[in-house]
Amino acid sequence: MRVSLFLALPLALFACDSGKETGDTADSGDTSDTGDTSDTGTEAFCTDPTPCVDYNGACELSGTYTEDLCLTADKAWLLRGAVTIGDDAATTTLRIEPGTTVYGESAQTSFLAIARHSKIYAEGTAEKPIVFTSDQLDGSRGRGDWGGLALNGLARINGCEDGMDPCVAEAEGGVGQYGGDDDADSSGSIKYVRIEFGGIEISEDNEINGFGLAGVGSGTTVDYVQIHAQNDDCIEFWGGTVSVKHIVCSLPGDDGIDWDFGWTGNFQYGVVLQDGLAGNNGIEADNNEAAHAATPLSNPTLSNITLWGDSSIADSNYGVMLRRGTAGHLANVAVGGFSKACLAIRDQQTYDNFADTAAIDHTVIGCGAAYETGDEDKETMQEEDIFEAEASNQQVADLMLTSASTTSPNLLPKTGSPLLGAGATPSGSFFESADFVGAFGTEDWMAGWTAFPAN
């Protein structure tokens, strides 16, 4: 039998809020009435807004919710401890109004998890992004102040080599269970969202990432998401089929883009930008650490990715680290600045997966060292044999990006950059046509909705 880390809590929120509701309604009476009244205003985002449970001026969210929530932008929402949407059985929906700020309490191990079967609709706009951030005052914020946003879905994962069908696993950080047999599952839609100062280590090798997608299905929309100043990875996929677009990973504490356990989605337009304080690999791609051939095999397609490392980080710092049996297709990836090397391929099965197909193409690398020269890298597994066999790949001295500043970056290629006009779009309807290598051609889709605060 499986162990759930959470017991379904009685909805304390709704049980005890009646006394407080009057006060809160008075506060916000001009923007929205309580749900029961005959307010039919077409402007209201929430037809049944979640009432505020006041906590020192913020509206507290805590525990497991089994009734739908709708968070309005006029209130400051505070995640206190574990906040889980859904009981891992029925569908509970969380909607968040554009422009809403949700704080994670740093005195607790706070995070927001969407359980299997439940959904989140956090759809901001370029002008009014939805922000998840630390409850510390500006200037005092830092990596790891709170946990992050975790989506658990019902798509297939690997790791159950013996018997369990469908494979269901316990998520990192104790944020619930994930995995199932519905590859088309939807966990909702996330657009124009920033997640800042999260990432917490629960125990050794067991962390809550900034944005964790565990067994998330292809019915889910993820577009325009910035993950900023995390303690752990920015975005991590554990199996699943979800596809994502326009992802900005700034100042990661560990890896930028990380996948394991059989992720098979698509990824177009992505940025990883390191500072000199922390960080690891730009992409860290695994199939399964223990069993490299576990199925379904990690096999995503990524296109138009810019990975910019900080060479002052001495510790294991590669642009792209492919290992532990992953497959995949990397196209139009621009890699530069990493201290160790731009490209590392480890383990025979990984190597075979990438050697069999032209799995890396239209990719431009420009690091101090192009390829991993680890002392134990087998001679039969040379990165250059894969990279240089494909004529569209290039090694350059300089990617010619406009500015890799960590406070106001402009990662568009300068005129004459080798990235411009060097790309070719992978097949598949998911991918927009783009003739450049890296995340940007001439349009800065990062502008406006992102932010790069140091603390």
Partner: protein, 934 residues
């Protein structure tokens, strides 16, 4: 020997034999011990009779009785009746009946329980106890332990049949693992000071205060129901017959350890006594703030909370215990002393015994370990970890027994035992990433302090025809691990740089306190029937057990690296000056944060109510039976703070309540010659027992187990397992001190609790617990002891002793979810065979003794594989020890002990690859003891 007693009795026995009163007859005779020597001070009566005759120095007794058939009931301090002789009294005539006594006894025909005697247990006596025991038991007397040169109980037990000792500390009976073992002290349960372990580490007990250890392998209804492989019953010594004083000094040189360079962390002023907590205490201001909740900075909506300045002060308050040094390791040394005496006040004897032991030893544990992953069909090396751990272990133990004894072997007694140990550890773990270049060097320093306090009061009373035993024990077992420190450097091109990300350092304070109240009452009624003595017994037991465990974890995190030299020793980096925020906005600093998780604390308790009824019957002269049943109810509850909850009062509770009826039946058939039917015995026994989850295993909360380096979470749905046990054994006692026994056993475990690997994003590192479908354990045992008295000259003092066990075990996990590779496999830790052998020469004329001891166990699973990675097996380790001793005059004795002469590697394999290798190293020690004759 029985000087004091003899004096008090002599006067009464001075008169010549009186004439037989009219109308009566007389039974008279001599009471002999197992050496055929007369026993002074023995009390002889007939069952149902009132008069008691006390023997004088010649061992003679006399009883005048009306004519009729009687059964004699002898008692003597420290001795048990070997038999209960029949006697026919004829009017006017004396009848001569010899009464034989043996040294130790348990489960005899008439007496329910006999407490450990004051005499040093002899091998002969230990064998006699096995012979008399209604259940299958192994007994080790102190003489055997001393002969083995074993300084701790664990070392001594290595020599008993079917026993394997793991880590030199935990006794696995029939190799069944600690889940299926239990420890009693003088018949009352003992809690483990080690979290997540059930078995008590036997190195808590120095041999000086132990009289005997019994390993009970078959169940009888007067024992606790939680009984799997066996029960180790440690019995302490009581008052001596004659005044006793002894002093012993010893020293040991360890190959590869002594005078080698070892690592040491910060050392406190009283560490050498085993008390190091004061030096490592969490500062009061941090402890009191931490007890209110996790130390985190206040947020924009917080009530109260801490300012950054508060946190800086907390961070600076922790002592800068980051020292890392090397030291030449000194030889091991120890001393022990014991004293005791007895006072006789008429028919009342008062007395006691005090023992003290101090021991200071060093260990240098070096080895390496490989971790593999599966790439296609092939095992690929993932990383190699090379470790060295230096530990300095100090043990300070004391025991006091006080008692009063009076007629009929009745007594009250108190046993107080305090065992305290402190261990300073300093370890390095160099992890070489085989696939890439994530090489790290990990440093750990720490202090582990364990203490056991145990107080038992007991009474053995004869109330009319009823023999009454009442016992109450209170025990507190504590494990304290203050100021454990761990930090990591990245190794880049041979140079070490402080790792800056994640938890690159941690300071931990771990505490676990287990307390238990254990009361039991046993009543037995002996009576005569079928020409022999029969016995019925009832009893009850109540146990209340409580545990509180807590962990506090802190860390210093880099915020900016400007101004830091990462190649420096950590002691120059984590300093008060560097804990910030810094005044200079651009400078890097270290931020102090608390990592304690809400599941780091838990409390648990258990209540047991039990009652039993049984009968020990001898329907035929050659047949003894034990029939009975126990009813036991148990309630276990675990409470853990709710993970990530805002409500500090919110807890997750798990509870398991069961009531079990546990029948048992044992049959012993005497197959020997007419005059001594018990010389050859066939025993067959059946019993049902249970295996309950360890308290922590019921908690849903995930916790990081620093010992196994794994994330573990319990399972609130765990059920207790039931075990059907069948034992058969044929024993032959050709002469005193010689025996041959052949046995077989079969156990069926219904839904045994097994640790399994959870499917988890925390790759390969999460474990949980589940009830497997079933498991079977079956095996055979052989035990031989033989003297060489038929040989000429000095060779007749040679003897051999050997025992071995063949054990098959298989657990069925096919219906158990999890990512374990093997669905059927042997039980974890179960060896398929175990062999012990001893060749010795005991030359009494010169007081010389020499013996070789050999021990080996078969391959056993140490780590259950997952995701297609095979299980990891530990290969057999052969061990040979040499022991010699020489008496010097009447008071002095010198002993020499050379251990692990083969220095066989301890090696584990995963599939066809070597996973781990380490060497224990040989050692040579000498001890001088002084025990003036009384």
């Amino acid at each position: 020997m029985h000087l004091l007693l003899s004096l008090s009795i002599a006067m009464a026995e001075e008169a010549p034999a009186a004439p037989i009163p009219a109308g009566q007859g007389r039974i008279t005779g001599v009471v002999l011990d197992s050496d055929q020597k007369p026993v002074a001070g023995a009390e002889v009566r007939v069952i149902g009779g009132v008069d008691i005759s006390v023997t004088g120095p010649d061992g003679r007794y006399t009883l005048d009785l009306p004519p009729g058939d009687y059964v004699l009931d002898p008692t003597a301090v420290g001795l048990d009746p070997y038999e209960y002789p029949d006697a026919r009294v004829v009017e006017g005539k004396p009848t001569e009946v010899t009464v034989r006594m043996v040294g130790l006894g348990k489960g005899n025909v008439a007496v329910v329980e006999v407490y450990p005697p004051e005499t040093v247990g002899a091998i002969t006596a230990a064998l006699e106890e096995r012979k008399e025991s209604a259940s299958v038991a192994e007994v080790m007397g102190q003489e055997q332990m001393v002969k083995s040169g074993d300084s701790t109980a664990a070392a001594a037990l290595t020599r008993a049949t079917g026993l394997t000792i793991v880590d030199g500390r935990f006794a696995y009976v029939r190799g069944m693992g600690d889940r299926y073992s239990a420890t009693l002290l003088n018949g009352s349960g003992l809690p483990s000071p080690e979290p997540e372990k059930r078995v008590v580490p036997l190195d808590l007990f120095p041999t000086a205060i132990i009289d005997t250890m019994t390993v009970q392998k078959s169940f009888s209804p007067d024992m606790p129901a939680e009984f799997g492989g066996g029960m180790v019953d440690v019995r302490t010594r009581r008052m001596p017959v004659a005044p006793l004083f002894s002093l012993q000094l010893n020293g040991t040189w360890r190959g590869g350890v002594t005078l080698e360079e070892g690592n040491v962390g910060p050392a406190g002023p009283t560490d050498f006594l085993g008390f190091g907590q004061d030096f490592r205490q969490l500062p009061d201001e941090v402890a009191s703030a931490s007890s209110e909740g996790v130390l985190k900075p206040a947020g924009r909506f917080s009530e109260g909370g801490y300012t950054k300045e508060d946190l800086v002060a907390f961070g600076e308050a922790l002592p800068e215990h980051w020292q890392w040094d090397t030291k030449e390791i000194p030889p091991n040394f120890g001393l022990s002393t014991s004293a005791g005496r007895r006072w006789s006040l008429g028919s009342l004897d008062l007395g006691g015994l005090v023992g003290l032991v101090y021991d200071n030893s060093w260990d240098l544990d070096e080895g390496w370990r490989n971790v593999y992953s599966v790439d296609g069909e092939e095992l690929v090396l993932k990383k190699t970890t090379t470790y060295t751990e230096t530990s300095n272990n100090v043990r300070l133990g004391g025991g006091v027994t006080l008692g009063a004894e009076w007629t009929g072997g009745q007594y009250v007694q108190s046993t107080t035992l305090v065992s305290h140990s402190g261990s300073a550890k300093a370890a390095t773990w160099l992890s070489d990433d085989a696939a890439g270049d994530d090489d790290t060097q990990n440093y750990r320093t720490g202090w582990v302090e364990r203490q056991l306090f145990y107080e038992q009061v007991g009474a053995h009373l004869i109330l009319g025809p009823v023999v009454t035993d009442a016992r109450y024990a209170y025990s507190v077992a504590e494990g304290q691990e203050p100021d454990q420190r761990e930090w990591t450097y990245n190794v880049i091109d041979g140079a070490e740089f402080l790792a800056t990300g994640g938890s690159w350092n941690e300071v931990r304070y771990i505490s676990l306190v287990d307390s238990a109240h254990d009361g039991r009452l046993d009543l037995s009624l002996p009576f005569l029937a079928f020409g022999g003595e029969q016995k019925v017994a009832i009893g009850g037991q109540v146990v209340q057990r409580d545990r509180a465990a807590s962990t506090r974890r802190y860390e210093y995190d880099f915020v900016g690296l400007d101004g830091f030299d990462l190649e420096s020793p950590i002691a120059e980096v984590v300093t008060a000056e560097n804990i910030g925020p810094a005044d200079d906005a651009d400078a890097g600093y270290l931020e102090f944060i608390e990592n304690t998780g809400s599941t780091d604390d838990y409390s648990a308790n258990q209540q047991i109510f039990a009652g039993y009824a049984m009968a020990e019957l001898q329907p035929l002269r050659r047949l003894r039976t034990l029939l009975g049943a126990r009813v036991e109810s148990s309630t276990q509850a675990v409470e853990t703070a709710e993970l990530f909850s805002t409500d500090t009062e919110a807890t997750v509770k798990a509870e398991l309540s069961t009531i079990d009826v546990l029948p048992a039946a044992t049959f012993t058939v005497g197959l020997g010659p007419e005059d001594e039917p018990d010389m050859v015995q066939l025993r067959a026994g059946y019993g049902r027992t249970v295996s309950r989850p360890e308290l922590r295993e019921l908690s849903v909360a995930a916790f990081y187990d620093y010992r196994s380096q794994r994330l573990l979470f319990g399972n609130p749905d765990l059920q207790r397992a039931t075990i059907e046990n069948v034992d058969v054994r044929l024993e032959w006692y050709p002469a005193d001190g010689e025996s041959l026994s052949v046995g077989g056993f079969f156990k069926y475990l219904d839904h045994p609790i097994e640790s399994v690997v959870a499917v988890s994003a925390v790759s390969g590192s999460a474990g949980t617990f589940a009830n497997a479908t079933s498991a079977v354990v079956a095996g055979g045992e052989l035990d031989v002891r033989k003297g060489m008295t038929f040989l000429p000259g000095a060779a007749q003092y040679l003897y051999v002793a050997a025992n071995g066990a063949l054990i098959h075990s298989e657990v069925d996990l096919s219906d158990t979810e999890g990512d374990q590779t093997s669905d059927t496999r042997p039980l974890q830790g179960q060896s398929p065979w175990v062999v012990n052998a001893q060749l010795g020469w005991d030359h009494e004329p010169t007081g010389t003794s020499v013996s070789f001891l050999y021990n080996v166990f078969g391959p056993r699973i140490t780590d259950v594989g997952s995701s297609g990675i095979p299980d990891t097996w530990e290969e057999p380790v052969h061990r040979l020890d040499l022991l010699a001793s020489q008496e010097l005059g009447r008071a002095f004795k010198v002993r020499v002990k050379a251990t692990n002469l083969l220095d066989w590697p301890s090696r584990s394999t995963t599939g066809d690859q070597v996973a781990e290798e380490s060497y224990d190293g040989w050692s040579v020690g000498a001890a001088l003891s002084w025990a003036p004759p009384p």
